[in-house]
C-alpha cells in the first residue's frame, strides 16, 4: 500500500519533471544530430559567416569592457546604499532583463535614432548611430549590463562592512578602497558577471535587428547571420548555430566549474 502511494507520488512528480527535461533537451539534441560536423570548419570560413563571427567577437568584447568600466561603479553604489531610490534603480535595472528584445530595439531607436531623444542632437554634426557597429554595441550593452551589475552588486553586498571601516580609518579614499580591497575580493563575482553579460550580448538578436539593421561586416552579428542564412543555406546556418551552442556551453561550464561551485 505504502509502496503504491510512493510510486504514485513519484509518477506525479516524475512525469512533469521528465517532460520539462524533454522540452529543454530535445531541441538541443535535434540541432546536434542535424549538424554535419565535418563541414563545420569550411562553413565557418564562408564569406557571410567569418565577418559575422568577427563582428560578434568585437562587439561582445566591447560590451564586456563597457560593463566593467561603467557597470562596476554602478554596482558599487547600489551595494552600499539602502536608500529607497536605490531600490528603484535596482528595479529599473531589471527591466531590460525581462523586456522583449525587439521592444528594447524600439526604445533604443527612440533614444539614439536620427529623430530620437539624443540622436536628433547628433545629426547636425553628421553623426548617425543607427546602422553602425556602435549601434550593435549599444544594443548589446542595453541587454547585458543588467546581468553584470546585478551579479557584481550581489558579490559586493557579501563583503564584510568592517573592511571598509578599517580602510577608511587608514585614510583610504572610496576609489582606493574599491581598487585595492573590494575588487580583488569580488573578482569571482566580476568574472561570472562578465561571462553572463558576454553570453547575453552574444545571443542578442531582436534589439540589434530593430535598431542596428543587418549588414554584413558592419551590423550583421552571428545570430543575425544565422537568421539570414536559414533562408539561403540552412546547412551553413546549422553549422553557425552549433558554434554558438558550443560557445554558450563553454561559458556555462566555465561559470559552474570555476566560480559558481
Amino acid at each position: 500500500m505504502r509502496y503504491a502511494a510512493g510510486l504514485r507520488s513519484r509518477l506525479t512528480l516524475g512525469i512533469p519533471a521528465g517532460l520539462a527535461l524533454l522540452l529543454l533537451v530535445v531541441p538541443l539534441v535535434a540541432l546536434l544530430t542535424r549538424a554535419d560536423w565535418a563541414r563545420v570548419p569550411a562553413d565557418l570560413a564562408t564569406p557571410t559567416v567569418l565577418p559575422a563571427l568577427r563582428l560578434s567577437l568585437l562587439t561582445t568584447s566591447t560590451t564586456a569592457v563597457l560593463c566593467l568600466l561603467l557597470g562596476t561603479p554602478l554596482a558599487w553604489f547600489l551595494a552600499r546604499s539602502d536608500h529607497a531610490a536605490t531600490r528603484w534603480v535596482r528595479a529599473l535595472l531589471t527591466v531590460p532583463l525581462v523586456l522583449p528584445p525587439v521592444v528594447g530595439g524600439v526604445a533604443l531607436l527612440m533614444a539614439w535614432g536620427r529623430l530620437g531623444l539624443i540622436g536628433q542632437h547628433l545629426s547636425p554634426f553628421g553623426v548617425q548611430i543607427t546602422f553602425t557597429t556602435v549601434a550593435v554595441v549599444l544594443a548589446e550593452t542595453f541587454v547585458a549590463m543588467p546581468f553584470y551589475v546585478l551579479a557584481v552588486e550581489g558579490a559586493m553586498r557579501g563583503l564584510d562592512p568592517r573592511l571598509e571601516s578599517v580602510a577608511r580609518t587608514l585614510g583610504a579614499s572610496d576609489l582606493r578602497y574599491l581598487r585595492t580591497v573590494a575588487l580583488p575580493l569580488v573578482l569571482p563575482g566580476v568574472a561570472s558577471g562578465l561571462a553572463l553579460a558576454w553570453a547575453r550580448a552574444l545571443g542578442e538578436f531582436g534589439a540589434t535587428l530593430t535598431f542596428a539593421g543587418s549588414y554584413p561586416g558592419r551590423t550583421q552579428t552571428a545570430p543575425l547571420a544565422v537568421y539570414a542564412l536559414l533562408e539561403q543555406d540552412p546547412a551553413v546556418a546549422i553549422s553557425v548555430s552549433i558554434v554558438l551552442l558550443v560557445v554558450s556551453v563553454l561559458v556555462l561550464a566555465l561559470l559552474r566549474g570555476r566560480w559558481l561551485r
Binding site: 525581462v98 546602422f131 550581489g154 539593421g213
Partner: protein, 249 residues
C-alpha cells in the same frame, strides 16, 4: 549572485508557461476556414481581400499570415497548415515542395520603387542618386524577392548603392524610411501606395526596373480555399489590387 540567478530562472519559467499557453491554439478544421500565407508586400491588399471575401461569403473566415516569401515557402515545406500561399514573384515559388502544389496562377504584378521620407532630406531624385557616398540606403535581404529584384535593378542600372542595412522583408525595409532612419529604401510600388503620406515614391525607369509576377498557389482541395483564390483573381479582387498599386495580368 546565486539568488539573482534563481530569480531570473523562475521568471523564465513563467515565460515558458505563458508561451506554451499561447501556442496551444489548434488550426480550425478546413471547411469554412481558410489559412492563407501571403508575402509581406501583400499585407494591405490581402487584409482587404480577406475582409471582402468574408463579407461576400457569409460563414467563412480567412486567416492571413504575412512574412517574407522565403520564410513562407520554408514554413509550407516544413508542413505549416496553410491552404493558400501568395508569393512575391515566380522565382520565390521555386523552392516550394512541388508535391504540395494543387494549382498556381498569376494574379498580380509589381515593380520596384524608391521610397524616401516626405521631406526627402537627401534630395533623392533618381536611382542614379543612390550611389552618393554617405547616403543611407536600405534594401531587402538578398534571400527575399524584393532584395533579389533590387540587386538585379541596380546591376542593370550600373549603380552601386550605399547600403547600410538589408532587412528581413519589404515592410521592415520600408519602416526604416518611415522612422526617418534611412534616406531611401528600395521597395515595391504597392508599398509606397499603401504607406500613403508617410513616404514619397521616386519612380525607377522601366528600362532598368524589375517586374515581379505574383503567383497564388492552392495547397489543398478544400472548396473554400478554391473560392478564395477565385475571388482574388476575380474582377473585384483585381480592382482591389489595382487600387493598392499592383498591376494585374
Amino acid at each position: 549572485m546565486r539568488r539573482r540567478g534563481r530569480g531570473a530562472s523562475s521568471a523564465a519559467y513563467g515565460l515558458v508557461v505563458l508561451a506554451l499557453a499561447a501556442c496551444g491554439t489548434t488550426p480550425a478544421p478546413a471547411g469554412d476556414h481558410v489559412t492563407v500565407l501571403a508575402a509581406a508586400s501583400l499585407t494591405e491588399a490581402f487584409e482587404q481581400l480577406a475582409t471582402d471575401f468574408e463579407a461576400t461569403h457569409p460563414g467563412t473566415s480567412v486567416e492571413v499570415s504575412f512574412g517574407s516569401s522565403a520564410t513562407l515557402v520554408q514554413q509550407v515545406n516544413q508542413g505549416a497548415p496553410a491552404e493558400v500561399i501568395a508569393l512575391a514573384g515566380e522565382s520565390a515559388a521555386k523552392p516550394l515542395d512541388r508535391a504540395a502544389v494543387k494549382a498556381s496562377t498569376t494574379f498580380a504584378t509589381n515593380v520596384l520603387e524608391i521610397a524616401v521620407p516626405p521631406d526627402n532630406p537627401a534630395g533623392v531624385a533618381s536611382i542614379d542618386d543612390l550611389d552618393r557616398p554617405g547616403l543611407k540606403v536600405v534594401l531587402c535581404a538578398p534571400s527575399v524577392p524584393c532584395g533579389q529584384a533590387a540587386d538585379a535593378t541596380f546591376a542593370s542600372a550600373g549603380v552601386s548603392p550605399s547600403v547600410v542595412s538589408r532587412e528581413v522583408d519589404v515592410k521592415a525595409t520600408l519602416s526604416k524610411v518611415r522612422l526617418g532612419e534611412a534616406d531611401a529604401a528600395v521597395v515595391y510600388h504597392s508599398d509606397v501606395v499603401a504607406a500613403g503620406d508617410v513616404v514619397r515614391g521616386v519612380a525607377i525607369p522601366a528600362a532598368v526596373n524589375t517586374t515581379l509576377r505574383y503567383p497564388i498557389i492552392t495547397l489543398s482541395d478544400d472548396p473554400t480555399a478554391r473560392s478564395f483564390v477565385e475571388f482574388v483573381v476575380s474582377d473585384r479582387g483585381a480592382a482591389t489590387l489595382r487600387s493598392l498599386g499592383f498591376g494585374t495580368p
